[in-house]
């Protein structure tokens, strides 16, 4: 069985459950053979494998684990006698190969099936139809999906998944852990790295530039966390790798603001305004000693922070904009983003265990940087503001207010109410019921009636007989089903007495039948040969449906609920109509 497949990699010295053996990476499956036997002990198709995991660096045992779709796991232990280096080498070889192979087998079919399954789960009616038509072998599954569920499938297709945004708290979510050695350890997952890249595009560029060539991934992130760029809200400034990132960010923001300016409002001047106030404040405090600037920037820090919030917002908006264009870019730019979603998952899985990078950072260094003299305030745009003609802030605010408020949306202060004058109020109060003039009683008549009532009062004693039997029988007749008062009461009383499940069955049968009939009728008039073919097919489907489902139901109804054949009369009539149409069509066809 394995002979037909190519063995891509044969890896001896692999233990599985303490038994020595050889791991074979073949074109369609991963196999392991114990010792020198020629029986394949373990064999898993790649299609069955959900993911692979590897043991973290630094562990004495070099292992590789594969996880199947049913969540069972198999762990292989690499025991190359050349020592750990060799073992890691072996393992990586297998891993790399699997990374290439697995996505290929994360097959389309699987996806489609899942999609269909989901569709059926989400649409109870479709599911019912599927059960009626496919499981009863009235139509085949392919036919079903091709014709009956077309609109569902097609309507689903254009859905693209919205890209996940960046959680606002992701940076605080990276919990630094002290490792007890005066250092701090950051655990970064691919998600977090993605988020960092999204928030700081400059860092992404830097990462692209530096990482493969100048430093390792780990060094890069260590530098990042040490950098003032990351800490600039807290402490100012150290010249380092990321200092130019800050500048590019500022430029970027400025550019965005310029764009806004084109749109209309003068936000940038407000920004400059605040910057200038900041500047002048610090200059006033001590124009000579630049060191003092930092003291003043207690306020500056807040401003920086607000600036960063704004920048963050801009980045989010931009992320939305470039969503579509992003696919290709991210593909080439980061090592962890892969072209398709499934591949990314795969990679994330692989990276999952290895990407928990340890970041160490000296606290001392941190402290020393506080006292270090700052060089620039990050306000690279401050110089630009000087070029702008000076305007008092009030004027600017007024300008903005001008842009935001529209005269024609203001309320006009004049309220006028229409006075409702009713000439005859009773006409308004009197209802729309036409007066019954038929029963007008004059007051004389009324008087007479009341007097006769009064006369009767003394005779109103004891307990008269209120109901005699002839009357009672008559009234029973009236109130019985079919009686004078019960006309039209229960035309389908059988339907009301049916048990719930039978009702449900009839209902679902109706749904399916209507679907089948819809297809049948949609073929007419048969203008093309394809339609003729379809008409024949759907008629056969209809007949099959009638024979299986409806006859069954009919028999059951007859057996359990004697009088219920009436219930299906409509069903029979619509089928008969289809029959008639089909026969007529056949005859005409034969004549031609």
């Amino acid at each position: 069985m394995t002979s037909s497949e190519d063995v891509l990699l044969q890896m001896p010295n692999v233990k599985y459950k303490k038994d020595d053996g050889t791991l074979y990476v073949m074109s369609e499956r991963l196999a392991w053979i114990q010792g020198n036997r020629d029986v394949v002990t373990l064999s898993h198709k790649y299609a069955d494998i959900k993911s692979q995991k590897i043991s973290p660096e630094g562990k004495p045992k070099i292992q590789l684990q594969i996880v199947l779709h049913d969540n069972s796991t198999f762990t292989f232990h690499f025991v190359n006698p050349e020592g750990q280096q060799g073992q890691i080498g072996d393992r990586d070889q297998v891993k790399e190969l699997l990374i290439q192979l697995l996505p290929k087998f994360r097959i389309k079919v699987n996806r489609e099936l899942e999609e269909k399954n989901r569709l059926l789960m989400e649409n109870p009616r479709l599911y019912q139809l599927y059960r009626d038509l496919v499981t009863e072998r009235i139509v085949t599954a392919d036919e079903f999906w091709a014709s009956h569920a077309q609109q569902f499938l097609s309507s689903q297709k254009p859905v693209t998944y919205q890209e996940k945004g960046v959680s606002s708290g992701f940076l605080s979510g990276i919990k630094p852990e002290t490792d007890g050695m005066n250092g701090i350890r950051y655990n970064l997952s691919t998600d977090v790295i993605e988020s960092i890249f999204k928030t700081y595009p400059a860092v992404r560029r830097k990462h692209l530039e530096c990482v493969p060539s100048q430093m390792t991934e780990q060094e890069f992130w260590t530098k990042f966390f040490q950098s003032h760029y990351f800490h600039r809200d807290r402490l100012p400034l150290l010249k380092d790798l990321f200092s130019d990132c800050a500048k590019t960010d500022d430029k970027e923001m400025r550019r965005e603001l310029e764009k806004i300016k084109v749109v209309g409002s003068d936000v940038i001047s407000i920004l400059e305004d605040s910057e200038r106030v900041d500047m002048s404040a610090s200059e006033m405090a001590d124009p000579v000693n630049p060191k003092d600037k930092d003291k003043v920037t207690a306020q500056g820090i807040y401003q920086n922070m607000i600036k960063r919030f704004n920048q963050h917002s801009i980045m989010i908006l931009k992320a939305c904009e470039r969503n579509s264009a992003k696919e290709g870019e991210s593909n080439s730019s980061s090592n962890s983003a892969q072209p398709s979603n499934s591949a990314t998952d795969e990679q994330a899985m692989v990276n999952g265990s290895s990407s928990k990078k340890k970041k160490k950072r000296d606290k001392d260094k941190d402290n020393s940087s506080t006292s270090a003299a700052p060089v620039e305030n990050g306000d690279s745009g401050a110089s630009a503001s000087l070029v702008q003609p000076l305007e008092p802030p009030e004027v600017k605010r007024a300008k903005i207010a001008d842009k935001l408020a529209f005269e024609d949306l203001m309320s006009t202060e004049t309220h006028s109410y229409a006075q409702l004058n009713l000439t005859r109020i009773d006409r308004y109060l009197n209802g729309p019921v036409p007066d019954h003039k038929t029963d007008v009683v004059s007051s004389d008549e009324l008087q007479r009636a009341s007097l006769s009532m009064r006369e009767h009062v003394p005779r109103w004693e004891g307990r008269p007989r209120l109901l005699d039997s002839p009357n009672a029988v008559k009234i029973v007749g009236e109130l019985q089903p079919g009686g004078a008062l019960m006309k039209g009461s229960h035309p389908d009383s059988v339907a009301l007495t049916l048990p719930k499940e039978v009702e449900q069955d009839i209902r679902s049968m109706y749904g399916s039948l209507c679907e089948v009939l819809r297809h049948f009728w949609s073929c007419f008039p048969t203008t093309t040969p394809a339609l003729e073919e379809k008409a024949k097919n759907s008629y056969q489907t209809l007949k099959r449906f009638e024979q299986t489902k409806i006859t069954q139901l009919k028999e059951r109804l007859l057996r359990d609920h004697l009088d219920s054949s009436k219930l299906l009369s409509h069903v029979m009539s619509i089928i008969a109509a289809a029959d008639g149409k089909y026969n007529q069509w056949l005859q005409r066809n034969n004549r031609r």
Binding site: G431, V433, L467, K474
Partner: protein, 269 residues
């Protein structure tokens, strides 16, 4: 444990202008007796059931039972006579005596046509105000409930009056309040077709019935109106009459299929 009781309020039309009363005044008393028997049947169904009877006349309506408790007036406790359940006896006695008193009173026969007749000169019963009274009574009873008690209330109107359009607004107000309170209004109509009452029954989920044989009223009452609302679903009762909700033009009082409503005064044309 939740104690559930049913309150039945019967509004009896005592207007002598009702056709069946005019033709034979004895019938009226028969109807009252039928209603009393019906109330007793209701009380008998469950010991916690309550009943209330309201009489409605041309320009007044009174609660006949239960008798109002005034301060200083101690009601004589009713003693059992020939083994009848005291509550039945009390209901019967008080309703009968009150109706007698009312019929004998001057107010009953004074028909001041300027005051009591409506615009078209009709002497119509002020059913809407009696219904309003009934709703107030229900509301009071609901407030008096202690925790764990539940009161299901419904109203039965027994009337043979032709209805007045003058009360249209009041009727509608009553019907919609009843609907909001969850009170069913049943209508047992002994006269011509009553549009408003049929609408009211339809709005509140009650039954509208016009018994063909008034002498057998008791049987209709027991058969159709005795079961409480939750039971009615299970019974084969007369089907609801299709209700004509068409609006009538305000100026000519003609029923119209499509109306235009004035946005200011909400009258339709």
């Amino acid at each position: 444990m939740e104690v559930e009781s049913n309150l039945l309020i019967v509004v009896i039309d005592v207007n002598p202008a009702q056709k069946y009363v005019r033709s034979d005044s004895k019938q009226f008393f028969n109807c009252v007796d039928s209603v009393l028997t019906f109330c007793n049947a209701h009380l008998m169904l469950q010991a916690s059931n309550k009943a209330c009877v309201i009489a409605s006349h041309i320009n007044q309506s009174h609660i006949l039972y239960p008798i109002e408790e005034r301060e200083g007036v101690t009601l004589k406790p009713i003693r059992q006579v020939d083994g009848q359940y005291e509550v039945f006896l009390e209901l019967e006695k008080s309703v009968r005596s009150q109706i007698k008193k009312f019929v004998m009173s001057d107010a009953f026969t004074s028909f001041d046509s300027t005051r009591s007749a409506d615009s078209s000169g009709n002497f119509t019963t002020c059913l809407a105000s009696a219904l309003g009274k009934a709703l107030c009574y229900i509301n009071r009873k609901e407030r008096e409930l202690t925790a764990g008690e539940k009161l299901n209330s419904r109203i039965l109107v027994v009337s043979g009056s032709s209805e007045s359009t003058a009360q249209y607004m009041s009727f509608m107000n009553v019907f919609f309040s009843a609907q909001k309170l969850g009170v069913i209004i049943d209508a047992c109509v002994l006269g011509p077709y009553a549009t408003l009452l049929s609408q009211g029954a339809d709005i509140t989920g009650g039954i509208y019935l016009r018994p063909p044989h008034i002498p057998g009223l008791l049987q209709y009452l027991l058969w159709v109106f005795l079961p409480e609302a939750s039971l009615r679903k299970q019974l084969a009762l007369p089907p609801p009459v299709p209700v004509d909700y068409r609006a009538a033009c305000f100026c000519h009082r003609q029923l119209i299929d499509m109306g235009y409503v004035c946005s200011v005064c909400l009258s339709s044309k």
